[in-house]
Symmetry: C2
Subunit: 184 residues, 2 copies
């Protein structure tokens, strides 16, 4: 149920339309909480019905501008620090590792090496983002953006190191097996 809180969070920075929020979801929140148009319009309707947001103006082309209410702000703050974060631990990439013994060592090594490459790529992307947004905006807002970015940088670095280490372990086993075969 966090789409609701993502929407409230974005609206806490100022009024916006569904369309506006959608852009934000696609750009800045895509790496953390992707949302589709369909989902967002539905949620905004529900939030309005429950009084957590309110329509403040209707612009051209049927545009509806939403504003967060006091009640919505209270709900956002409550969620932020009082509700236990539910670590959604489903991990496709790691699930595969468990079954990697079903393919030969060469293919398994290839899989791990690709993971390492992907991590390097993502890390570079994030470094690019950091370069492009240096020191703009106010204290707190900027700091928390930085902190989130740093999380990405550290995690992709750790993922790269791990994948490289794992690929090397598989390669070592391959060598060992090859030695065995030659000795027979």
């Amino acid at each position: 149920m966090s789409l609701r809180h993502a929407a409230l969070g974005l609206l806490s920075a100022g009024p916006a339309s569904g369309y506006d929020l959608l852009k934000t979801f696609e750009i800045s929140l895509a790496e953390v909480w992707p949302a589709t148009q369909s989902q967002l319009y539905g949620e905004l309707g529900r939030l309005a019905k429950e009084g957590l947001v309110r329509v403040v103006s209707e612009g051209p082309r049927g545009r509806k501008e939403y504003e967060i209410t006091e009640e919505g702000l209270a709900e956002l703050r409550h969620w932020l620090v009082e509700v236990a974060p539910n670590l959604s631990r489903r991990n496709d990439m790691l699930l595969r590792v468990f079954f990697l013994d079903q393919v030969d060592a060469d293919a398994a090594r290839g899989y791990l090496e690709r993971l390492a490459q992907q991590a390097v790529h993502e890390h570079d992307q994030l470094r690019g983002v950091r370069e492009s947004v240096i020191s703009q905006g106010d204290d707190a807002l900027r700091m928390y953006g930085d902190i989130a970015l740093e999380w990405g940088l550290r995690l992709t670095a750790a993922q790269r190191d791990w994948a490289e280490w794992a690929a090397a372990r598989v390669a070592a086993l391959e060598q060992q097996k090859a030695g065995h075969a030659a000795a027979e």
Copy 2:
């Protein structure tokens, strides 16, 4: 659509009933791909209908033992190395960081410190698991289990370091603000 592959992966190690698989999901796969009873029985039925698994024996209490078919094995191997892992990036914990400017610095720091503590706790749990399963089972199977465990150890360590670093940054801002206030 990975529950299907998780089930195929478990069955690739040998025949088992839905009930058996459920235990495995609850114990060894819980951290990577949780599944409920309801979901699993449904999926096994579908897999059987599509010929990726087959019922090999019916035991007491209506127990149905499933075995993976050649077709199922082929699908599993295909998925393992040929299908791009879809990185499910939804991250509740990080989403909150983006909106942390909505609570005071003290509460924000508390949130980050709690994240660090949680990471330490998880890291310790995993260290416990590693201790308890040292050097059992065969080469490849053991190795991939190790590799997955190592991922957990490295990620929880990185998460702890990051959360501690972030909490320190927020504390520094608090100090700065307090100095300001005193100077006025």
